[in-house]
């Protein structure tokens, strides 16, 4: 069955208008599948703004559209600057290698573990001399 041309046009427009666009099951606040949840988690760690589309209400017609557009039918799908980067696996792999931050034009977060483990950066506050000491003879 050919993909619905109206839906395809809408999808193409969304991909064009959003530098980072995630097709996912559910919403970023309430993902409805583990893979979608993990992809949202990665995007949040990288700290980039992104558009999100819940595919569940239009799942089958949308599969037909993305199959035609990108030869890919499973979700989540992350599009960056108009191109399909991949699903959850690829996004996670690229995040760990630093390729995702590069593709998104942002700085790689210092650590993929909790930020609390990071050592404090060197201070550039002016040197403060110790409080005056008064010697009593």
């Amino acid at each position: 069955m050919a993909a619905n041309p109206e839906l395809r046009a809408q999808v193409e427009q969304a991909i064009e208008q959003n530098p980072v666009l995630l097709f996912m099951k559910g919403t970023p606040e309430a993902p409805r599948c583990g893979f979608s949840m993990r992809t949202v988690g990665v995007l949040e760690q990288v700290g980039v703004e992104y558009g999100a589309i819940d595919v569940l209400p239009i799942l089958q017609p949308l599969r037909e559209v993305t199959s035609e557009l990108s030869d890919w039918e499973t979700f989540p799908q992350l599009y960056v600057n108009g191109e399909l980067l991949g699903g959850c696996d690829i996004v996670e792999e690229m995040f760990e290698s630093g390729e995702l931050a590069e593709a998104l034009g942002v700085e790689q977060p210092a650590s993929t573990e909790a930020a609390a483990a990071q050592p404090a950066p060197a201070s550039d506050e002016p040197y403060q001399s110790p409080p005056m000491q008064i010697e009593t003879n």
Binding site: W72, L84, L85, G86, G87, C88, D89, I90
Partner: protein
């Protein structure tokens, strides 16, 4: 099935739940120089019949070129 479509590939398949959520770790010379998404497309095409007949519900992939 993957080895059939990609001769020379090293494939490891893990069951991640229920027999129909699988993870395939594939290293294949055919992956050299192509994007991850294209690597995944090759594997997906190889296992297509299992998706179509419902044997596989979800397939996680880790692909890489050898060396």
């Amino acid at each position: 099935m993957i080895e059939g479509a990609l001769p020379g590939a090293e494939v490891e398949v893990l069951d991640e739940g229920g027999g129909d959520h699988l993870r395939a770790i594939v290293t294949a010379p055919q992956f050299e120089g192509i994007s991850r998404i294209d690597q995944h497309r090759l594997v997906k095409a190889a296992v297509r019949p299992r998706f179509d007949d419902g044997t596989i519900h979800a397939l996680s992939l880790n692909t890489s070129a050898p060396g």
